[in-house]
Symmetry: D2
Subunit: 400 residues, 4 copies
């Protein structure tokens, strides 16, 4: 494992991914490998041009992690068909060398996605211990001192709210009692926080954002960020809505349909999982516009012909001067994992920087990466993409 | 002419429109009349919520102006079909009372649009004198102390660059010589500046932005702004491009087609006029993105079935992480005059405020209203909509 | 009630509409009234150019019928906003004169739509008798000899299949027993058949197409047709699919979304009613293409901003030569009732002609008007729009 | 050169392509090679399911031809990027063996496309003789008895109409005089006819459809067909327009934009060549609808990011019942050569069959393959896709 000129031994950053073998996780790994092989292309990496902020260089990031599917990442990238065979050919050897560790899953939380590479713990605490041991083993084996965990696993359904989520003490008691309200995402988040490793949640699942874990992260000095990566449709929504607001065009309705055919789509075909997703998509518009859009409709449909090529169709009905009505229709033919992977990388770099700066708990300045940005002290989140961008730039330049 | 509770006699603002009987001009008049009749609807007026900035109240604005068509504004609004008959019924009487003054046209500059309500001056200076006399007569007749002129006339072709445009002195000499490079828009702009009236250019025609007139405005303490109102497609372009920049998505190509069937479309069917329009649309993308988009294509087509319902179809090709390609397609079914009219009103209010604040020459803080924002001292313009919004808000709050 | 030059007294055709006050029913009435007032515009009426086939002239058709809402049709057309106020102004008086009779509804079959103008029968047979009496009273009062009934009421959920639907005898026994499987649409269809009146079903509800009623219609010499009017998305689907078939383009998937905000949309927001609708939309593609399209997805969503302006967005994934994939996207901004109303009128004229020609039972040559065309003897229906058109033209020219 | 089980030695059909190395020509060659290698996939080949009509089997077709670019077809397919590398890998050896003969070009007819593989004839008759010699050499070398020529070269500008095009005698005199009105497409067509080889014109260039060559073909017993392959937008236009006609929806306007980035697009960037193309696209709508569509607008734009992935955006404005307006928007993301190549193959098979059936001159039953179908005796062409399909099926079944 060589490192490029810009990454000294002490600069190495370990990126631990929950769901490493998925479409996004394997694309993250492939992209970082390509950079390490010398590619100068930084397209899609939003913070590539920043220098002096102290972010880890891309070629210093080394990927490992867990997955319910045991395939090595060469097999995984081939299966997901996100990247063309030509591009993968050169990466075959290093990707073959990355093989996910056995993961913790729970079919009660995610009905449509499962796999054989599964931890055989029969208690919450057993699973947590196994995850922590994986982390410690990895650190020791590789000698990497700085680690970050990012969750890319399939979306879990949300449990009912429970007192167990309110404080660290109650949460730890519920852990010991194997409380069925605690899902895999929380186990990973808890393990990360206890190991002192920053944690980012790119999924809509409940994890470090429950008050119990947010407080624990704060108390233990661990930065956390989430949740639900803002990639395609919601990204554009938070770009367009501020423009309608600033032009005083009233949004009468916004109808959003998504079709996608990857595992993410399959998971969302379970109504319980879909519901988690829609919750994180929901309030974005109203928060930006400052009024309630009565007819904001969001649908996500599994549609196999698309594979990873997600497509969003949005119809926006606006009223302008003298109540006259207009329509804007946006059709985004995107590649889900291509949009997501570079954000995952930037989240990891920012969390690592936050830790080095001594920051702890929720990191609201990372809000532009998420559909449902975590805040502190119940502050309402900022969803306006450009204000989020402004906030992050300020933080990176050391002004915030 | 009564004024609402918020507009005292001394608050009255006279808005003088070149092209008053057009689709936009008559919609401006109808909208202001409606507000004066008590309508509380401020949809589409971007600065309606601002208080304390010192902008003139909407119900204090009184419209007059010039047009090549002699119809009163009740006839004009009926002809343009921008507003539904129900809405116009209540406005019939006040709109009938507004009848445009005879205008200065020049078929050498705008081949496809002409009309009988034409000034019979046979020299540049004669036309200028007639315009200035119209202004003085109007001020005297109405007792309105504060006036602003906005150009909404059909787009003119751009003359070849000439030394006459470089300094006030040369321009005035060329005026006296009836230099054919001087078009109607410049005559109106010159008249306004000489009368000490702020001038806004909502068209792509060359006017107060030629160095000669910009310098004259500066010297005489008159604020000017322009050019080419940013309403539909370019508005969205300056909203989306910053988002692609901030997400590091590379724009490989942007294909923009517009179809519209109003007079504006007819004027643009003349290639010479179209060329003026495309010039103001052109560099927007490159300036925002910071690199040259080789395949930026913009077309405007006259297509009668649409009338004033302009439609834009944009296809954007972007590359993301690892060079993978995606597409965004935006279809904007807009109403040209409905988007334009409230911007015209806000431009007038801002120019009036600028004058009261003692500012002169080009007003770059009004850039968000224009496709090709005027700047001072050859500074490159800011096209990013959100930075423009930020700049205007700062100026209005007195910080800039 | 005068009739135009082309309609003699004996030519009068009475069109009895179930759901007369709905968006489609009131548009039918308004359109026929306009023709009677002398309008020569026949746009949207597919059989307007045919002469010699013996179809009733449009100005000979007189509308009456039932509705749960008691409003006269002037009020109904104003409420539905399908037609602009200018156009309705001239029709106000005759539309005011048309007032729906009290209707039979059943909230067990259609949860989201109800109204106060309701028959107070407390048995199936009582309701049937009341409907038949309405018909006989109308015939006597107006002196119209030829009547046709068309169902335009809100879609009903489909009951479970039951032996009661298999033969006329069993059906009549179930009627007498107030079998809850029998819904309002069947009661109207039964009443029509018993009165010897042709019956057309423009809704997806089960009615004359159950074997019991089809057999009864055949036995009593009454022509019937249905079901579910083919207006927007399915119409285009049956136009495009034959073209893909004939060019050997393989349809890998077809994703169809509909948004509409009228009563029809509200009714379809009840999953039970939606299910009826989707059943009639389902097999169209497979039947035309000759193979099963695994990923044929159809959604209908209630979205208020649209009102009657239904919008369909279709995404079609096809494979061509050497397995290469392409996409066709169709966005239909239609007006549901504007597409439906003329088809209702043509169905009525054709059913009347069929009766005069002595034909009885299901009329497959009218298949082009329906999403789920009735056939005889379990023949599979033809869905290809152009073959349907060919079949109807043949029948009208007397060749079939 | 082995042949599959269905193709005996005497069945071999030689397909001679003008423009063999282009995107379409090389795709034709690749596809036929794939079938010969045993692929059973017939997607996109419209006549694949027909048996008994006497069409040549696909695996009996052997490709050769001319091109201004000297690359062998392995290099050509790689350059055009129509087919993915995986698919081409297996075809590399046979495609390498196909190398185009030197071609006749004329920059006066096609400004934007040229190449070094050029015949060095300095007279029309010299070029014709060289083409005929190529054909005779090929027949002798391969022993193939049945040949067909199809023109796939870049579109040529149309010369002014001239008396030279009216009769065979005048044409031959003009040939001898090196009349500059005679373009390369005519030279190839003339050579084919003189060699007794059926000729199909897939381009919009003037060729066998001028009266002189149509008469010559008729006189010499040679079937000819053309012109301008109906692949994407026009194909859909001739599918949709009949549906609007049959539903009596009045087409108020049809705005068609095409963007494409292959050589075809580059050629069309020359206004003279574009004009040929638009001529063949023009009257389609009016002919199908039976009235003149005032606002039928067609644009073709060269837009590099697309390469061979042509995209069409159509906006159709229709009026329905009571003059109410609706819109249909169709966005076709197609692959130009993937749509074209199988049609070229079917044209060749049909022309060969026509010759064996003893038919001569223009073959109107092949109209469904062309935008501007040739007819005999000035009969207006049929453009309705489904009537064209019906006509071809009748001819193939021996009924016509």
């Amino acid at each position: 494992m060589t490192s490029g000129p810009s990454a000294g031994a002490s600069d190495r950053l370990g990126l631990l991914i929950v769901g490493l073998g998925g479409a996004v996780g394997s694309t993250v790994a492939a992209g970082l490998e390509r950079i390490r092989q010398g590619s100068a292309d930084r397209t899609g990496l939003p913070l590539a041009d920043l220098t002096g902020a102290g972010l880890a260089p891309y070629d210093a990031i080394e990927v490992a992690g867990w997955d319910l599917a045991p395939d090595d990442l060469a097999a995984a990238t081939a299966r997901h068909r996100v990247l063309p065979p030509e591009l993968l050919a050169d990466l075959h050897r290093p990707l073959t060398a990355i093989r996910p560790w056995a993961a913790t899953g729970n079919r009660a939380f995610c009905r449509n996605v499962d796999g054989p590479n599964r931890i055989t713990a029969n208690s919450h605490l057993g699973a947590v211990e196994r995850i922590r041991q994986d982390i410690r083993d990895h650190a020791e084996r590789t000698g990497i001192a700085r680690l970050v965990m990012v969750n890319l696993a399939s979306v879990e359904s949300w449990p009912d709210d429970t007192a167990a989520f309110t404080t660290p003490e109650r949460f730890e008691r519920a852990l010991a009692d194997n409380d069925p309200a605690i899902g895999p995402a929380m186990l990973y988040a808890y393990a990360a926080i206890r190991e002192g490793i920053p944690y980012g949640n790119f999924t809509p699942s409940l994890a470090a954002d429950i008050p119990a874990l947010a407080a624990l992260a704060q108390a233990r000095g661990v930065p956390v960020a989430g949740k639900d990566g803002k990639t395609g449709q919601t990204f554009l929504k938070t770009v367009l809505a501020p423009a309608f607001r600033d032009r005083a065009l009233h949004v009468d309705g916004w109808f959003s349909t998504n079709i996608l055919g990857n595992n993410d789509g399959l998971a969302l075909d379970d109504p319980a999982s879909l519901s988690s997703k829609l919750k994180t998509k929901g309030s974005v518009l109203d928060d930006i516009l400052g009024y309630r859009v009565e007819d904001h409709v969001v649908h996500i449909h599994y549609y196999r012909p698309r594979g990873d090529d997600k497509e969003a169709w949005d119809n926006i009905d606006v009223s302008g001067f003298l109540g006259q009505r207009m329509q804007i229709k946006v059709n985004f033919l995107c590649k889900d994992s291509i949009l997501a992977a570079p954000l995952v990388i930037e989240i990891a770099r920012c969390l690592d920087l936050a830790q080095r700066r001594g920051e702890a708990g929720a990191q609201p300045q990372l809000g532009l990466f998420f559909k449902s940005p975590a805040t502190r002290d119940r502050t309402p989140p900022e969803h306006d993409f450009f204000r989020q961008q402004h906030a992050l730039m300020g933080w990176l330049s050391g002004q915030a």
